[in-house]
Symmetry: D2
Subunit: 451 residues, 4 copies
């Protein structure tokens, strides 16, 4: 690989949005469709809360997590603060106190209720938050029915609000899992409808992953501007990559158990220094939500406490664990650039929809040579890239500018999408990011190696 | 030195239960009355929870406090574990998992849910806890209807369970106050019906407290065995006391504000070393739940955020604060022995009942010479006595023995009863105890001095 | 109830200072003797530091402990601040900065170096602290040679300074032990000269302790004003005591090992709730400085790491441990009053002197019927009494008033004196006090029981 | 810029080691020269400790810092463990216990004394550590005199040991500064010999920095294998860079004070979220070691507490502060790649030597157009690059492999060298790394911008 012969590839089909993701992208031209998606999204949040009692919606499982009720109110406050108040004349705030209660981290918006105390908010009640949502939804409808000119001015904010709410839908699910895992009664968020485990080709799950090769060269990565994206996905820019190979599937529970059985959690040689200290301090010896029941390994999931599926991707592992596993396996994690490039060979499964999805990672599919499975919809994939600004990045002005830029330190990028990611909220350029010790999201890994 | 010629003084009229407290004591002979009180008590707990949403009942305001739902379930578990299971043949536990969820601190009863995580329990729901209570109440009724012989064996446990539940009724109220004070919306637990503030004789509230004298000598203190008491109130024993004087009323908010205005919180000379460190660490400069609104001082109460009543006793002060105030005032706190002796001159007000009480300390009444006001029903009164065993005390065997004895270290005794204390749950010998930094209970002080 | 007919008993022979303690008390009349003792005491501090390198003298073993150098400087600062500056005209401070460096906790003396950072002070050097001591000693000599009138005014402060420095001599020893126990090289502070272990009557050490009876009655306790004492030992006052029995010797290592072998550290029933939490948090399963070397139990001492002597009193146990042991043994700890009364039957051994003492608790001596051994000079003895003010106590004005009074909360009283206590610094009324979790002092216990 | 026309540039003169750095590199062929440098380096460590008392050498200023004595012993242990024991037959360890005491973080070498407790080690004494050094130096001499064949096998380890000890020489200086800054007496490590401040061209210091342009394209970065380097500087690899401009000098104290005066520490908009939380938690409002004395700004330095030099580069700023400053200035920090490329235009000053250097950053020199000043020898420069592996990097096997790789998470790269860096220990490819909150090293910043 020299890199010299490669043309600029900003229109390279390799990283053209795939069929699937292009299907998911809004065209941005059709206002009706935009508002349709808006209210679909708003409805989905309510649907996600439906199986929960008011109590379930109120409690905060940990400092990382937030109560369902808070998510429902905060996403509503987001529309109220950034869209309705500035752009809908005569809009009347539902409650002045909610500004304080439901601002997440926007310093520009003033003081706010401390993050770690979100679970103290029994008032407003879950019922009142539902009224709050109805009040704002009605105003959003009013806004949507105003003449075109005005609407155009706010379309971008509507789109941002949809995507913002979709992010919180994923958090609702992961935070409920954290809460239910802390219940001695081990409740299920949703009953396990007709699990497909039995359909798993067990031979497949024990077959080693294949490594799909990619050429080195200069690739353009980052969002190309068509459809919605976050500021941190831009600017699209060239990057020089060496030849590499990427595993055609995620690391499975069966493989992780081999790591555990081989003393993976007790051999310092696999671990980053920070990871080893974290492991010692918290007595970590398995992924999150793993439990040992006699001879059995189980895992707490949104479907309750279930037998571990060996063919399913391992999930709820921290970056430290993912990195240690990769070293133990004699491989490495991919960079975020490699991952994005590799989406050109992704085999996409049916998009997850609320109706069909199982809220847990699916077993490994039968591989098709040269294609890469499970890139979207199972688990977020840790990459070896720390989260930082793309060349030329500049955060937008104002409170919206706090959305992504101020977190560009000490976090790692994850790519893909998980089983809890809202439908239509996936794309090849999406950059998720968390601290290396965090693992309450659906986080797993895929191996890479130098070619 | 002889000591041998002194008679035991267990019938000393000075410390005979007063009219009021004797009226409050069960005679212990009438089983019907006992069970009547039992179900009244059980009903009162439910009534206390009635103004609360399921969410309010679920959240834990701090590590000190517990959720209402937990109190409702724990008191029920207490009857189930100590009374029904051992003594009602064929009794079927409502749920095995509740043993783990609702044990408070009885090591003898096995592992239990961590105290600081009680607020995570969204399951069982508040509704299911109500079913749990109904299940156990029915079993208690069955037990009450069994023939005499069997019943006698358990009467003591019924009485203990009543008193235990009454303690938790007080905690329900103080813990709800802690929760509501943490709400940005500052809700009221109960509307302020016909506050008696306006009736206050304002002259009275500014009149200095009078100090009522008591002779020195040998007094018997501790419970004499008639009616219910806790193990820590026994054995009744002689104690030698020097002449002293006790203030005829509690320290008021007006007096406390004079302390504050005189730099009480910034002059180290008034403070215990531990108290000074506590004050610095937590930036304490006023009693708990005090707020400054412009020029106004307000206080968060169970009736919401209200204007501070100068004539009402100061409350939500720690032992450190109470001790500092006393030093500033040139006085001291009474010992618990002095306090108990002084009940002989207590002027008792009408007993608090659920119907009449205001859930906040009442303004200082008009004094009557030689009598002592506000000994029961306003605030618990810090004493200078650390909580320790009476001479000859021995903790009962078994889990019930963990009730009081294992806390006899590093805590201070408080005497009296507060506006949140359950009716009929007061007596002259009652020993309440908390750590010197705690102040989320209704805690105040009364001054004493050497004669 | 009268109490009025009882005579004051301040001259009761039972609590008259014993032969030994009276011999130790200064007569206070002889100025030459006072100054002789002063310079003897000053010299002893220097002698205690002599076996230490400058480095040993500089480092702080823990937040509880202080560096030797700091003790040497602080005791010097004490004389400078309370004695020389106010009372020696033209006295020139050695260094203004030392006020900040070497004030311990006197808020009245202004800001000071944080306690936990005393070990950061490499400057002034140990050598310069020695110069500081010489400077102040010279000024003290000047003061001692002034005419009588002036001297009388300061005698009390000289006496206080001597006693203060003696307290710090004990701390020098315990803090050096803490430091040396943290050294991987396990150094000895002083070589083990001719240990007396071999002389132990081994039969004696396995013979059960005898319990010496005492009558109940009214006793006067507290200091009677002859000779030096601290403010917290006064006022002498009557107290009413029930008949009790006190063990004629301390609890031994052999007995403690029986407690350990019987699961003493794993059975919650013996423990105070705070103690059980402390034990769990710090993984406590043996007294401080105990080590297990193969099948051997050893203990780090000022003589290095030595084999545990079964007949020696157990030491470096916290109040929690002492209380748990007593409960396990079916006994209790004495109150401080009982302990003080019992000194009337103390059998005193030869006073420890720097020349003779071994800096470790001696094996139990052969008992003599009716007498109580080991009350002074082996280990401080935990009592069940929390540290609080005697009736009528009032802290002195000014900085000296911070000496004792501000610590009267959450600590327990210990009585006696340890092998590290400076010679001549013991008396029956002395009240030592520490928090219940602390155990870096030479702390042990003696059992009591109701008669 | 397209990047397509650029050849691989592994021999690109732009990043050829500069005159200065090549002069500093060992040729590797001359064994005598190698051993000469070895003993020079060993001697320098001793020289650095010479102005310190034994006490200064023993105390640990903070968890980040280590005692001088520990550095002196640890570097000696490094030679003993990795070089002498494996390669010098019949080598006798100085002390087995030192393995435990002076291992820093090599898990492969077994248990070790906890990092935060290094300051507890008063034994071995500073004197004994000097003996230890002499013992090991003698053995190193023996090793150096053995016949060629054997020596060749260990040359790489000698070189590694030299570089390792040079790193610790810098830490000795920064850790002594941390210690002396914690002394109330504010000592100077070394007297301020003939400060060059007066020579500063004050016009120069107020002249804005110029931005030197660099073309985009593919550059090879990383070490080319000639001379010593650490594993983390390899493999040398191509990287694609966009056109950029780099400031020709460091940010000065005068510029930083403008930031402070403009509310830089109180406006959240400049700050990373983690940085804002850090600033709030630790009440940060100025660089480390800054002090306000009346109207004056001073800084604690190795020359004592001195008046802040406006023309000197700001130092002791964290990554959070550096990033906030850059945002406030409308610029950004350079990437580590940009910085390395820019060394091609570095104007090098005279190498620092122990004899000439001042142990503090020098004032900004007069700029020469198109050249970049102060790249080596003043302060380490924060880059926007997080510390991670170069493409193809693989940690060496064994304990030496723990040297760099296991820290590749959550840290930021700094480039250059500081006034405390040992002479001859600088090169263009050197990658230093620290956590974003750390600032006890000599850390500053240089601005960059997109071209």
């Amino acid at each position: 690989m020299t890199g010299t012969s490669l043309p600029l590839q900003s229109s390279d089909p390799l990283i053209t949005p795939t069929d699937r993701t292009s299907a998911l992208e809004p065209d941005g031209a059709d206002t009706d469709a935009l508002y349709h998606r808006l209210f679909e999204t708003r409805q989905l949040s309510s649907d996600l809360a439906a199986p929960l009692s008011n109590e379930d919606q109120t409690v905060q499982a940990s400092d990382d997590a937030s109560p369902t009720k808070w998510h429902l109110a905060h996403t509503t406050w987001f529309f109220e603060s950034f869209l309705l108040e500035p752009h809908l004349p005569d809009y009347r705030r539902y409650s002045d106190a909610f500004e304080y209660c439901f601002n997440s981290y926007y310093e520009a918006k003033g003081d706010r209720h401390p993050r770690a105390s979100r679970g103290l908010l029994t008032r407003p009640s879950a019922g009142e938050v539902r009224s709050y949502r109805a009040h704002v939804d009605q105003a959003l409808k009013d806004l949507g029915q105003r003449e075109e000119g005005q609407i155009d001015a706010v379309k971008e904010l509507v789109e941002l609000g949809i995507n913002h709410e979709q992010q919180h839908q994923e958090l609702i699910l992961t935070d409920i899992l954290a809460l239910f895992a802390a219940q001695p009664l081990r409740p299920a968020y949703i009953a396990d409808q007709d699990r497909s485990t039995q359909n798993t080709d067990s031979q497949n799950s024990t077959r080693p992953a294949a490594f799909v090769p990619f050429d080195g060269g200069i690739y353009a990565v980052g969002h190309d501007g068509s459809g919605f994206s976050y500021d941190n996905e831009s600017p699209r820019h060239d990057t020089l990559v060496r030849p590499f190979r990427l595993a055609n599937r995620l690391v499975t529970n069966a493989e992780w158990m081999a790591f555990m059985d081989d003393g993976g959690y007790t051999d310092h040689r696999h671990w980053l220094a920070d990871g080893w200290a974290w492991l010692k301090q918290h007595s970590i010896d398995a992924p999150g939500y793993f439990e040992k029941c006699d001879d059995d390994r189980r895992q707490m999931t949104l479907h309750g406490l279930i037998k571990l599926d060996p063919a399913a991707p391992v999930t709820h592992v921290s970056y430290y664990e993912a990195d240690a596993y990769a070293k133990w396996a004699g491989k490495r994690l991919p960079t975020e650039t490699e991952w994005e490039i590799a989406t050109s060979k992704a085999r996409l499964s049916e998009p997850n929809t609320l109706a069909t999805r199982s809220f847990k990672p699916l077993p490994a599919p039968l591989a098709r040579p040269g294609l890469i499975d499970q890139m979207f919809g199972d688990v977020w994939e840790w990459t070896s890239s720390s989260y930082s600004a793309y060349p030329g990045y500049r955060a937008p002005d104002g409170a919206v500018g706090e959305y992504n830029g101020k977190f560009m330190c000490s976090q790692q990028v994850l790519r893909g999408a998980s089983c809890a990611t809202a439908p239509n909220h996936t794309r090849a350029t999406y950059r998720n990011f968390f601290y290396p010790h965090q693992r309450w999201q659906f986080m797993g890994l895929r191996l890479a190696e130098d070619a």
